[in-house]
């Protein structure tokens, strides 16, 4: 008997992944695996200057290159712009249009100017070299100081001082007096480098017009299929019905693919013009330099403390460098609004003031990236606590203990109500693990030998389960949040479930099936998930903000329960009993008889009645077996939480930061599949460490990006990423139908703060404190080996 036959629920167990068989066999189907008869291949002519007016764009020589079939400029295709909007007054938000192909001006190196279509990708690339573009260069705007200057050159004429978003969301009355009267005020000035989310599968799409369906079929790797459909239909002036977006297997996204890319729309436009399928696969050079980037932020923050180390007030100024364009649908507001709304995090902050700005510069545009501003503001707040602990002579963990929220639900100064979590418990457990393993003793012993070992923590929450109301608070004009699921049983008793979320590695095919199998008492092998197809899935907001299991999974569960109710009603009618007497479990439909008798039907037998013998159904039960449910979260969302503890050693001669130990204590409520949750933690931590120590896209004075290959962009490997031990706590969530809180982003949120704190702990004897990530070996080396004073 399998465990499921014994009636034990599947939720909470690490069952084998449904995805694995095809993926380990090389039988996954990623977008570049698609081949259609007559398919052509596209590449993009991209700007080589950061800022300039386009004086002329001559594609005639391109069209003569052998193997090139066509080349189109913006004027040739005449398609609409992509414009992301916030419903905010102009003083707070300036909308800017992102043309699918640059028309009059280029605004970053790598901006697409023309699409070249060839018989294969090699031929299309040959064509690129024959493009002739003349620019009237403009001074590039590359940094905060230049962008915000009174006489700044403008990236977009409509955005004065290059400011797209400027919001002052919270300002507690009398906050200045609190700072004036405080026992201690500490300040930090934190900057974080520009990063690439870097899914290993680059972006790409295959588009063609399907005459029979009278539809554009756009197969693209996106986290947000329905949003791509909306933009494609509007840019191409088609009814939404006439666009079908299908997402094949996806090689990661991490947020870079949760916005609409101009290239996928251009490829679709070219396919319509040519009447042939067009494939575009981004190469790594373009993916590194010209796809959506993230993370470049600057925080000036201060905090007031009393003599006991309790925080009294937090005051912050946040500037996010969003690059050349606002992304759809989130806009340039995504980062400053996230930081402004949520910075107090897991701490009881009584007074709060924040200003958040998004500036536009001549760099590749940004998109949300795993964590969205939280890796940064958690780092800022954790740095403030570390600094206060030092100045007040307190233990860094103790000062956190005194300040974390312990009474739930807790409504913060940021007008957000936090649902129950294990902030203090996770902090205590994490410290205990590190202490019990002897790392504090190791640190002391190492110091005596002149070695530099440091211990750092980060305690944080991850707001997930953003429903429509939470996004509406952000004043998005396009408001994400809900999800719809349909569960359909066929005559054989097998089930198909749809979700509007889109897995790009998070194991939805398995976890959603676990939820459905439990609700229907059905063998998991008989459940199949449909995702990422706008024709099969009614509607959905895709996968971002760790919303798949919280929102999407809840819709799946509710729909499955509704279908279960119908199965019970039919069985009850057949047995002439009440639905309450019918149980769905262990792959069977059972009647609980008072006399010990136990009637049993199979799911198939019920399904056959529902479809093939509808004459047997009572009048109040409709034939067929489908159920639909919509789920939305109407409060402020739900907050998974974690504490990360890191031990590092700094190497005197090389400046290398070596991670000796990494401990993660996480609480994401009910874990549907613990192994998947651990995988999300570890993968997230690896990306967080990457941001803390390795990855950065810099620009030279002309606006050329530094990172155009893996020789320049240092993605950490198995030699740099340590083993991570993950400890689970479980505070079930009352706001989701699954009891789960999101688990996708926490690792990335906690790691930079924990690593930075550990490095600063190790640097303590030197008197140097670092407030910029990535922490390079050069910086550490300088701190450890200061120039002798002449």
């Amino acid at each position: 008997m399998t465990p499921q036959e014994s009636g034990r629920p599947l939720v909470g167990r690490s069952v084998p992944r449904r995805e694995d068989r095809r993926l380990v066999s090389g039988r996954g189907r990623f977008v570049d695996d698609i081949a259609l008869p007559g398919m052509l291949h596209a590449q993009f002519v991209r700007s080589t200057v950061a800022h300039g007016e386009i004086m002329s764009l001559d594609l005639s020589a391109v069209r003569r290159v052998p193997g090139v079939v066509a080349a189109f400029s913006a004027d040739d295709l005449a398609i609409g712009d992509i414009t992301a909007q916030l419903a905010r007054p102009r003083s707070q938000f300036v909308p800017t249009a992102m043309p699918v192909l640059a028309r009059d001006k280029v605004r970053y190196v790598g901006e697409p100017l023309a699409i070249v279509v060839g018989l294969d990708a090699y031929a299309a690339e040959d064509g690129l070299e024959a493009a002739r573009v003349e620019y009237a260069p403009l001074p590039p705007v590359l940094g905060e100081e230049t962008a915000l200057a009174d006489d700044a050159v403008l990236v977009h004429d409509e955005a004065a001082r290059n400011t797209l978003v400027d919001v002052s969301l919270f300002a507690t009355d009398g906050i200045d007096d609190i700072f004036d009267a405080a026992h201690r005020v500490v300040e930090v000035d934190v900057t974080t480098g520009r990063q690439n989310a870097l899914p290993l599968e680059t972006r790409g799409a295959v588009a063609h017009w399907d005459d029979r369906e009278e539809q554009l079929l756009l197969q693209t790797c996106t986290q947000v299929p329905h949003q791509v459909r909306t933009v494609a239909s509007r840019c191409l002036r088609l009814d939404e019905r006439a666009v079908r977006v299908v997402v094949p297997d996806m090689g990661g996204g991490f947020g870079q693919k949760c916005v609409v890319g101009r290239e996928e729309i251009a490829a679709a436009a070219a396919a319509l013009r040519l009447g042939r399928p067009v494939k575009w696969i981004e190469d790594r050079k373009d993916a590194l330099s010209a796809s959506f980037l993230a993370r470049e932020q600057h925080y000036r923050a201060r905090a007031a403390f009393d003599t006991d180390g309790r925080i009294l007030a937090l005051d912050a100024d946040v500037v996010c460098d969003m690059g050349a364009y606002s992304c759809y649908p989130f806009t340039a507001g995504i980062e400053p609004l996230m930081a402004s709304a949520e910075m107090p995090g897991v701490y009881k902050v009584p007074a709060y003031r924040v200003r958040g700005r998004a500036i536009t510069t001549n760099k590749a545009p940004t998109a949300p990236y795993r964590g969205v501003s939280r890796p940064q503001y958690v780092m800022v707040v954790e740095r403030l606590f570390e600094r206060a602990a030092r100045e007040l002579g307190l233990d860094p963990v103790e000062i956190r203990r005194r300040n974390v929220i312990t009474d739930f639900p807790y409504t913060g100064v940021n007008d957000i109500t936090y649902d129950p979590g294990s902030y203090l418990e996770s902090l205590n457990l994490c410290e205990r693990v590190v202490r019990d393993e002897g790392w504090y003793d190791t640190r002391t012993a190492a110091a005596a030998e002149g070695r530099h070992i440091g211990i750092g923590y980060a305690c944080f929450s991850e707001r997930t389960g953003y429903g429509s109301s939470a996004f509406a608070q952000r004043k998005m004009q396009v408001v994400p949040g809900f999800d719809i699921s349909e569960v359909r049983m066929d005559t054989s008793g097998a089930v198909t479930v749809t979700t509007g979320t889109m897995s790009h590695g998070q194991s939805h095919e398995t976890t959603m099936a676990q939820i459905v199998a439990d609700a229907l008492g059905l063998d998991i092998a008989r459940v199949r998930l449909h995702q990422g197809d706008t024709d099969r899935v009614t509607y959905g907001w895709g996968t971002f903000a760790s919303r798949s299991i919280t929102v999407g999974g809840s819709a799946v569960r509710l729909a499955a329960e509704r279908l279960g109710d119908k199965l019970r009603a039919i069985a009850a009618a057949l047995w002439d009993t009440e639905p309450e007497q019918v149980e769905l479990a262990g792959g069977q439909v059972c009647r609980r008889g008072g006399d010990g008798a136990r009637d049993v039907l199979t799911h198939q037998e019920i399904a056959e009645v529902a479809y093939l013998r509808a004459d047997l159904l009572p009048k109040d039960i409709e034939p067929g077996l489908t159920a639909t449910a919509t789920f939305d979260v109407f409060n402020d969302g739900t907050f998974s939480n974690a504490t990360h503890g890191v031990v590092v050693e700094l190497h005197q001669d090389t400046g290398q930061v070596e991670i000796l130990r990494y401990v993660c204590v996480e609480d994401c409520g009910v874990a549907i599949h613990p192994q998947v949750v651990e995988g999300q933690c570890r993968g997230g931590i690896a990306q967080g460490i990457a941001g803390a120590l390795y990855e950065e896209v810099t620009y030279d004075a002309a606006g050329e990006p530094s990172a155009t290959s893996f020789m320049d962009y240092k993605v950490p490997t198995a030699q740099e990423i340590p083993e991570v031990s993950v400890h689970h706590l479980e505070t079930p969530c009352a706001f989701t139908a699954t009891g789960a809180k999101g688990a996708g982003e926490g690792g990335t949120i906690g790691a930079p703060a924990a690593v930075l704190n550990a490095v600063n702990d190790a640097l303590r004897p030197t008197g140097t404190e670092l407030d910029h990530t990535p922490i390079t070996p050069q910086t550490v080396h300088r701190a450890l080996n200061p120039e002798p004073v002449p």
Binding site: V24, A35, P199, M250, R284, S507
Partner: protein
């Protein structure tokens, strides 16, 4: 080399490739890489392209039993060699022990880099069946994964190697002495 043997990159040529034990003849341009010919000419799409400059390892295949980057090799250079791709690992529908270990240890999430890691490990374990976990970690560092944090990949390969050694020890008891 005389001038008449020089070919322009676009000039098609006939090449013969031995892939997964099958002989293929392909007419293709001299400039096409091995990974492109495997994927687009032979439709063996299990091998993936991640960077086209030899760093990420998603395109790793075995050439004469050794892991190589199929993006750094022209298809023509692989003539006469035995090429193995991820499609060769399973025996029909029966997954190999290495493939099963990846699933059991959750060594893949999106699965895009997975064929490259599988072929890397397949080649490495054949050469060094006694590899320690540390050696495995060092070899795994040849390829990039963006989802897992690598730990479970190392664990999967180590578990597979350990199981193979145990099976071998049982099959050859004399070796235990």
């Amino acid at each position: 080399m005389t001038d008449d043997t020089l070919m322009t990159p676009r000039e098609p040529q006939l090449i013969a490739l031995n892939v997964n034990g099958e002989q293929h003849e392909v007419i293709t341009e001299a400039r096409r890489t091995l990974v492109d010919v495997l994927r687009h000419e032979l439709r063996l799409t299990g091998t993936h392209v991640g960077c086209e400059h030899g760093i990420c390892g998603a395109c790793t295949v075995l050439v004469d039993d050794r892991p190589v980057r199929a993006c750094l090799m022209f298809a023509a250079q692989a003539e006469g060699a035995r090429i193995r791709t991820v499609e060769s690992l399973a025996d029909g529908n029966r997954l190999s022990d290495l493939q099963r270990a990846f699933g059991e240890h959750h060594a893949l999430q999106c699965g895009f880099c997975t064929p490259g890691f599988l072929m890397l490990a397949e080649g490495f374990l054949a050469e060094r069946p006694e590899a320690t976990k540390e050696e495995i970690r060092e070899v795994v560092a040849a390829n990039m994964c963006r989802c897992t944090g690598y730990q479970t990949i190392v664990e999967a390969i180590d578990a597979c190697a350990t199981a193979r050694r145990r099976a071998c020890a049982r099959a050859c008891p004399s070796k235990e002495d």
